[in-house]
Every structure is written in C-alpha cells, then in structure tokens.
Symmetry: C2
Subunit: 392 residues, 2 copies
DNA sequence: ACCTATTCCTTTATCGTGTCAACGAAAAGA
DNA sequence: TCTTTTCGTTGACACGATAAAGGAATAGGT
C-alpha cells in the first residue's frame, strides 16, 4: 500500500480504510467505538485503521461534545471532506453541465456549455473544456463522473445505447482519462441523480426510497436497503408509459392515458396552450395561468397530479417504500398538482400499506451533474481502479 | 474452527468455505480455476479452501468431462448436496405443510397436518409433530426454516404481525429450537417462495426476475442482481390492490378495478358462479365451464388475464425485469387467461422496454414449504448462528 | 516422437487484517 | 477517594489471501 506522503487519494486506501471513510462521510462525526459497532469490527481494528488516516490529516478528532453517557466520552472523528474534490458532468442532447464538488457532495463551482452537435469530437471537447475550467490546480481532482442516458452499469467505462446522442459502445471514460489525466467513470444519469440524492440530498439517512423525476420525460430511481437498484442493464425506471387512466390524451408514442401524456413538460404546456389557441405557453406561463385561476390550467395540473399520485401509489404498493422524492425541472407545477396527487395516492394505495412521505426536491440540471460527482466519489470509496494514472 | 471429524455441518464452515459451497450449489460442478474467477480469489486460495472440504468428503472431484480448451483440463468439484438435509415448514391459517429437502432443494419427503385452531400451543405442536415425522435420524437435519405471513426479515427469529394467525412478537424460532434441537429460522412466506424459485426452481440462473403468485391473494417477490428484495420490513409485494381498470367488480376492501377483484380464486369463482345462479363453482369447475365454451367463464378468465398482464407490464416498466414467473394454486386458469394477459402486456409495456419472458410455474403448497427449507440452507451458508446447539 | 504453448493445480514464504486480552485514560456518581 | 462505565491503545497471535515458483496434464505443431 504505497501512500503519497502528504495527500493520499481516497482510491489508494485499503478496503477497511475506505469503509471507515464511507461511514464517516454518510453518518457524520463518529467516535471510534461507534465506528466499531457500525462496521462490526473490534475497537482495536478501528484504532489500527484510523491511525494512519489521522497521521495523514485525512481525518481528525473533533472537539468532544458534552457527553450524555456515563463513561469516558468518545473522541468524534471527522473527515475533512473539502480535501477531496470531484467533478461531475451531465450530458444532454443540447448542453453539458458540470460541477466541482467535495467528498460530502457540496458544490463549489459549476458551469455549462451548449452543444452545437452531438458528435463525439464536439462532446468530448466541451467536456474537457469544462473540466479545465473547473480544475483549480493540476492533480487536485480525484475523479471525474459523467452521467448520461443509456444502459450503463454503476461504474461503467463505456457509453452504451444512448439514444439522445446516438452513441453506442463509445469508450468515453478512457478517452477522457487520456485527455485530462483524471480517473473517469460513467453512469446512467437517473442512477447518478439517485446516488446524489441518497448521499447528500434529501434521501440522506433513508434506507429505502424512490426518486421520481418530472421534466422532459419521467424518470425513476429506487433505493432499497441502502443500495441503488439498477436492474439488468440500467433498465430500471422506464415508468413513463405506465397506464394511469383509461382515457386522456395520447403520448408521443401514441399511447392513451399513459403517465407521460399527463406529466411531461411538453404534455402540460400543450394541454394548456391548445385550448387557448396559443403556442407560446411554457411551463412558467402555464403556472401563471393556474395562479390566475385559469380553468384549463387548473384541470391539466390536477390531471398531472393525479398521474403522479398513481405512479407513487404503484411504486409504494410494489416495493413498500416509506418515502418518495420528487425531482426534476417540471416540479414547479407541484403547488397546483398536489391536491390531485394526494387524492390519487389515497385512492390507489393498498389499504394495508402505510402512506409514503412525499418530498419535493426542487433542483436544476446542476443536481444531475452533482449526482455524477457523487458517483465518482463512490467509485473511489467502493471499487477504485487498480492504479491511479499519473497526471504529471 | 473446530470441525467434527466425519460430518461437518455447513454452518460450522468458515466464510470462504461457505462461499465456495454456495457457488458450487448454484452453478453446478466447477473447476478450482473457475471458482477462483467467480469468487475473485487467487487459485492458491481456492486450493487451500477446498482441501479440507474434499478431505471431509463434503465435496469431491467429478470425472473430468471432455474438455474443449487447450491446456490442462480442470477437475470439476461437485458438492454432495444429499449429505445436507433441511426441513421447511409453511404455516397457513388452517394447515401446516412440511418438506424435507437436501441442500440442492430436492424434496425427499413431505407431509401436512390440518390446524384445528391458530393458538400458539396448537401450531407449535403440529410443527413439532411434522418435524419428528420427517426427521430420519436424530441430528441428521442441519436446520429448519419456517415460512409464514408477516413482517419478518430474511433470517428472523420472531413472528411479527401475522394477520392470519393473529400473532405478533412470538419468538417461534427459539421455541422450536428448544423443542426439536434443530437450529430454526423464520422468514416471510412470499420471500421464502421466491428464494426457493431462485435457488432451485425456474428462476435458477436468472439474476433478475419477479415471482407473481395467484391464489387466495396476489403476492409478489422480486429478485434483482441475485438478491431477494425485502423492503423496510418485508413490505414488498402488496400488489393486490393495484388499480388495473377504471371499471370492473369490487374487491373485498371495496376498491373498484383493483387486481384482487379480477385475480383471486374467490373473485374468479364468484364472478362466474353468480351470473349462473350457482354457489358451488370452485376453480376446477370454472375451468371446466371455460373448456366447454361458457361465455361468462371465458370472459372472467380473459379479464383475469388482463389484470395479470397489467401487473406484469407495470413490474417490468418499473424494474426492467427480463422475466416474470407465475406461481400459486390459482394458476390453473392460465390456459384461458393467457390471451388476455399477453394482450395487456403488449398494451401496457413501455415501448422501449423489452418484453419479459413469462414462465408459468405450476406448484402446490409444498413449494412454499420447500422455499422455507431453501431459506434454512441459505441461513447456514450466508449468516449461520454462532454455535450450533447440541442436539445430543 | 518431441517440443511448445496453455491451462490447471499445488506448495512455500510472506503480508495484511482482524481479534483477544490486558491495560491505561477519562468521565460520572457514590 | 473509590467504583463504575465507557473509550482508546498496545502487543501477541491467528487466519486468510497473495505472489512466486514449479509441477502436471492436455492440444497442437514440427
């Protein structure tokens, strides 16, 4: 275990040390005794594991809070999360978003650039541009995470079946590593968002929940027993075409009554704009109409809420989740959709199931990029690459 | 690691040895080199781990099959599953079913006894009676698994919230251990069934699938990435009251159009019996009517198939499962329900999702008991109790 | 028949990791 | 001050895994 003298990277630590760092990151300051209980190790092991970490300045002893117990108070260990920086990138069909975050998921800086086309050269160039822009000093970034649509595993190296870019089997991680010198990992974007929510978003501390995103499409991420589900090849989350009503408008694929036909931004704006003979209604305008009491807008939002509620109830019925987190840029409608949503939940929930806590998590595209940064951090703490490429 | 000279129990093995046994059990005969690759260990480790197992007669070298590779052929190792016997018990409101199975899940013997009441004394007595009946010799059974409804974890010791028996917080495992001398574990019954399907049923070799049961109720088990999902407290699988239609009959809880109202045995028999003015229609009679071309029966079965198809499509949309296994005593209707089911799947499946393989697994209550036996075996191979109680 | 490449399996020395048992340290309460 | 309780450290020790090296068994080429 060769470790550089002053600033060891998280990925270069041994498995036990990584487990300690992970636990400290997720559960805040903990005494060694508490760590021993959580990790099911003996106190002696924890001392041995933490000693070099403390010596290297990676973790330090907090000042003990006024203890409430009887015996000798524990010395809480804190991880200096700000020492470890990660970049997260989210690639959509027309824009690239990037953030710099520390190990605790706190965003320090962000940037984004439009994509003029979706060719490999263009996308790679813009990502590299953003990486350079957000890198404070060479070698200061421990890993780069890229989130984009497709059938990628948790820590993947290759873009697979991305419909928006029309890419398949593109070894993007390797390309970016060569260009930037930063270890790079890819992940399916909804999964990355879910990871971000779980580690340092509203899902923090919850063992079981779902993330339901509303915007251009309808997305889903599921966390059960602290694990983000992926399914065979990242196929979890195709929830958009779930039938939520026997009637209603058609979705873009010609289905009647499916969730997308009620929930996507496009469905909502057209559902309101068309009866009014207007084609300039965007989501904000639609919300304004509803604020002003427009009957059409109120009805469309109510229907959207209903669809959302049905999806939530189905999720909870099937998986028994105690909480559902709503996210996405289409969430602005929630104020007008909440009533319909709650009615639909009550109507469709199994009478033996307990009602889930529904949390609205208003967030922009940065949140998707932040999720990718969290995935990069998880990569280092769970399954780090064998040897770090030398960025010198 | 004290090991009895001739017949070591699976639970007394070390973690690595258990991992080897697990892999051999699930993936058939494997050479040491193949084991090393699957378990991500070095070949040297595998040799050290398997040596005592071979010496003890627990596993043995198979005669090498005609190899297709170039180098020295591997010596396939086989586990003598018949050496390790487990009992599985399934408790319903009016009957107790039990089987004796070996480590590979093969059923050697089975028995069942009616319950005159659901008091603790009665249930415990009948279970012990069945255990004695199925135990060939004292000490020959390595563990006992009990499956019953309730909110139990994977390997639980206490019955929690069992509605059928009206039990809560009953330390059944301890009671049975004291009486029988056999290490005992409890599990929620649908989860046990799913485990049985996964290890030695039609789900064998599949990493991701769902088990949908039809009978008195509608049940669900989900396996993702080789793990059986449980949710917070065994709450996965409350799928019965999922709305599958805006119209249709009421279910027992007064919901309109929910899955139970189309799928449970009671719903089907009444749906056919009432229009005919008959109260003696059971499931077999209903199937006979449909065989004879009775319009009502055909329609009811078609509706049931439709409901089943909607549930399957929703499952696949949400979790991306490539296969769904149908089980339960209500499955006899499938011949007449298949058309409706397939139509509903096609209609409700997300157009981007691949159609799941739907497998019918005709089975009786023994299958539930067998699942409990498999859970007992898993218990020994995954998380064995500290020290075996001495049955002498 | 012989050699080589390949794959498999085992042995030895060694190392990392974890535990046990014992002990010292720091608090609260009697 | 003494006891109790909990926390943290130390050293001896066991276990499990590995790397390195070499023997064993096969296919294929010369």
């Amino acid at each position: 275990m060769q470790r550089s003298a002053d600033a060891p990277t998280l990925g270069s630590l041994g498995p036990s040390a990584r487990a300690v760092v992970r636990t400290l990151l997720l559960a805040g300051p903990l005494s060694r005794a508490e760590l021993a209980r959580r990790l099911e190790r003996s106190p002696a092991s924890i001392t041995k594991i933490t000693q070099p970490l403390v010596a290297d300045g990676l973790i330090s002893e907090d000042t003990a809070p006024p203890g409430e117990s009887r015996g000798r108070p524990g010395a809480p260990l804190v991880l200096d999360a700000a020492l470890h920086l990660f970049l997260g990138v989210k690639v959509t069909a027309d824009e690239v978003y990037a953030v710099r975050a520390d190990a605790s998921g706190r965003v320090e800086a962000s940037a984004h650039r439009p994509l003029v086309d979706v060719g490999q050269a263009t996308v790679v160039r813009e990502i590299i541009e953003l990486v350079n822009e957000l890198t404070p000093a060479p070698g200061s970034i421990q890993a780069l995470g890229v989130g984009l649509a497709g059938q990628m595993s948790r820590f993947d190296r290759t873009v697979r079946a991305n419909a928006y870019l029309g890419w398949d089997r593109v070894p993007l991680a390797e390309i970016l590593e060569r260009a930037t010198g930063i270890p790079t990992v890819l992940s399916e974007d909804a999964r990355a968002l879910t990871a971000g929510v779980q580690w340092s978003g509203p899902g923090r501390g919850m063992r079981d929940f779902a993330v339901l995103t509303v915007g251009v499409g309808v997305g889903l991420g599921v966390v059960i027993e602290d694990r983000v589900l992926a399914g065979p090849t990242g196929k979890v989350g195709r929830i958009g075409h779930t039938r939520v009503s026997d009637s209603g408008p058609l979705c873009s694929q010609g289905h009647r009554g499916c969730a997308s036909a009620f929930l996507t931004t496009r469905s909502v704006t057209q559902g309101i704009g068309v009866p009014h003979g207007r084609s300039d209604v965007d989501l904000d305008a639609a919300i304004e109409l509803a604020d002003a009491g427009d009957e059409v807008a109120l009805r469309v939002f109510d229907d959207a809420g209903h669809a959302l509620g049905v999806l939530i109830a189905q999720l909870v019925n099937m998986l028994g989740l105690p909480a559902v987190i709503l996210a996405g840029d289409g969430l602005g409608m929630l104020a007008h959709a909440r009533t319909g949503m709650e009615a639909a939940i009550a109507e469709h929930l199994d009478p033996n199931a307990t009602a889930p806590e529904v949390v609205a998590f208003t967030s922009g595209f940065d949140e998707w990029a932040r999720g990718a940064a969290v995935v990069a951090c998880q990569w280092m703490l769970v399954d780090p690459p064998r040897s770090d490429p030398d960025p010198a």
